[in-house]
């Protein structure tokens, strides 16, 4: 199955390496949490790797089941994802959270139910304090 996706998306050797690290992690039971960064210049095919992974993890392409996140709406739209603010319920700087916190947390939990991997595209646009906000939001009970 991994071979099939590699062929279908015509991944280069580097892209294939990135893809295989995650695909192998996905099929290995009881593996440790994978925290991974895929870098490269514009047009080297990072998004192509994400597309291949989306195809591998969810062949039916049910995009709502996938945690495809990005810091801006434009970046998210390219991958049919959403901003991390919207999925994770992180308030945008300078704006107070409009929703009730308990309701918000419940909604975030419902959204992330069944999500095994999240992809955060354009990670270079995430500042240190944004990273903290994402992390603290994800650790809410």
């Amino acid at each position: 199955m991994i071979e099939g996706v590699v062929k279908k998306f015509e991944l280069t050797s580097d892209q294939e390496r990135a893809f295989r690290i995650i695909a192998n992690h996905a099929v290995t039971p009881g593996s440790e949490q994978l925290i991974m960064y895929v870098g490269g210049m514009a047009g080297t095919g990072k998004s192509q790797v994400i597309k291949a992974l989306m195809n591998f993890l969810h062949p039916e392409m049910n995009l709502t089941d996938l945690g495809v996140l990005a810091p801006t709406g434009t970046a998210a739209a390219l991958l049919h994802g959403s901003t991390y603010h919207s999925i994770l319920g992180v308030p945008i700087d300078g704006q107070t959270a409009l929703r009730n916190e308990t309701t918000n947390n419940a909604q975030v939990k419902a959204r992330l139910d069944g999500v095994d991997y999240t992809f955060l595209d354009e990670v270079s646009m995430v500042s240190c304090s944004d990273n903290y906000k994402i992390s603290s939001q994800l650790q809410r009970p």
Partner: protein
């Protein structure tokens, strides 16, 4: 921005330090180097395409 928390830091400073420390927990890295656009073009195009490669 460092990754150490100190007592004199502001809350924002502490949050940023924690955020940076979190970023340093990323241990698996793959850097893609081959430009996949304009892959099938002339020799000159290939030169231009690879001019900025590290």
């Amino acid at each position: 921005m460092g990754t150490q928390l100190m007592s004199h830091m502001t809350v924002q400073g502490q949050e940023a330090a924690i955020g940076k420390a979190l970023w340093h927990q990323v241990t698996t890295v793959v850097i893609l180097r081959e430009n996949m656009r304009q892959k099938t073009q002339s020799v000159e195009d290939a030169k231009l395409r690879t001019a900025l490669e590290i």
